[in-house]
Amino acid sequence: MLSVHDLEYIRGERLLFTELAFSLHPGEVMQIEGANGSGKTSLMRLVAGLGLPTEGAIRWNGICIRQCREAYCQSTVYLGHGLGIKSDLTPLENLQHALAISGLALPRKDAIRALADTGLDAFMEQPSRTLSAGQNQRIALSRLILHPGTLWILDEPYTALDRQGINMLNQLLERHSAKGGMAIVSSHQPVELQVPLRTLQLS
């Protein structure tokens, strides 16, 4: 369970949010809404563990995420604006590398299957720079299929995805939630899921 207590964050001289509190229980998906510059990305980065809040605490199963860094990192997947994809590597190489960095040693066939599930089976062996933005986004999303982490932190995951891609991501989120996983998703579009969706409005 993730709980956020009285979070305050000041970037530069601007107060982005203050006294922000919420908790996320197994099976819950939360959408973060807010205008451009309202601090959605900052909030997600703080929750992921990149950077320190000005005030407040973020706890994972009751322990501050700084204190249980290794366990917390093993149970989270963070997809930010930078996808961490190298344009000179193929989707398969990118995925295998990302998995190795996040501490998963999975056989090659699992990676191939995950890429096929995201609709990249025909592009597995060509450099990622020849692929579209949406296809690159799908490479990053394929990590979600293989990663056993229970908390997904997805910053604008729908950008660049086509309608079929959006459906695929929604299905992934529904399956994750059904298995007891949690997700924080920021999006400007309405998110339509078959599971109950909470929203957090940043102003």
């Binding site: 320190l52 290794e70 961490g84 990302a98 960095i101 501490g103 040693a105």
Partner: protein, 225 residues
């Protein structure tokens, strides 16, 4: 295999593949290294005796600047595409991952320099014994250059134009390496013992391997937060 070690190896492997696919970027600092040696005689004095005296300094200044040039982009693309964020969020120690990055960088800049240096020694009329010692100083000294340099790169990666600042930041820290390396080569040319200088270079590299990764990791954490 230990998963932390396999992440370390995966990072080295990835950088090797990327370097192989972009080999022109790899060649530029090396071409610079050779060019630097060949313009010196033209600019100053092609007299063999004079060149022999200058050679250790020329080789090592070329090595410093080539290392600076090759380091400049060490973390640039990883910073821009969000890879560094993934390293920071990896359950493995960030210091180990960045050490992998530096090892890969050394294999692609320090090692080729080591292979090119004898050619440079010949261009500068160095006697064979000096060339052997020069190779040893490069072998023991260039790891320090990569490690110290990476700290500076990690600190400046978040800045738009960090290139000049990087030079100002790390060139002073290269001075001890430069002093011991050049004095070893000069001593070898006059038949004096050089083990003292070589031990110092080795000690600096070992100290670098054990301490620099922590500094690089902290600097990267600051840069991405």
């Amino acid at each position: 295999m230990n998963p932390a070690f396999s992440a370390f190896a995966a990072l080295i492997r990835r950088d090797m593949i990327l370097a192989y696919r972009n080999h022109h970027e790899l060649a530029n600092p090396l071409a610079f290294f050779l060019m630097f040696a060949s313009i010196f005689p033209l600019a100053i004095n092609p007299e063999p005796v004079f060149l022999q005296k200058m050679a250790p300094g020329i080789v090592w200044i070329a090595a410093l600047i080539a290392s600076l040039l090759s380091l400049e982009n060490l973390f640039r693309s990883d910073y821009d595409d969000g890879s560094i964020e993934q390293w920071v969020l990896s359950p493995h120690p960030l210091a180990l991952l960045v050490l992998g990055k530096v090892v890969a960088h050394w294999c692609m800049s320090g090692l080729p320099m080591l292979l090119l240096a004898p050619l440079m020694g010949l261009l500068l009329q160095m006697p064979p014994t000096s060339i052997t010692i020069m190779e040893m100083t490069l072998l023991l000294g260039t790891p320090s250059l990569s490690l110290i340099g990476a700290i500076g790169v990690a600190l400046t990666v978040g800045l738009k134009r960090g290139g000049m600042l990087l030079g100002l930041l790390i060139l002073p820290l290269y001075i001890p390496v430069l002093i011991f390396a050049t004095s070893a080569i000069t001593a070898a040319a006059s038949g004096l013992p050089v083990s003292g200088q070589l031990y110092f270079l080795a000690a600096m590299s070992l100290l670098g391997v054990s301490l620099a990764p922590w500094a690089i990791a902290s600097a990267l954490r600051i840069s991405v937060s």
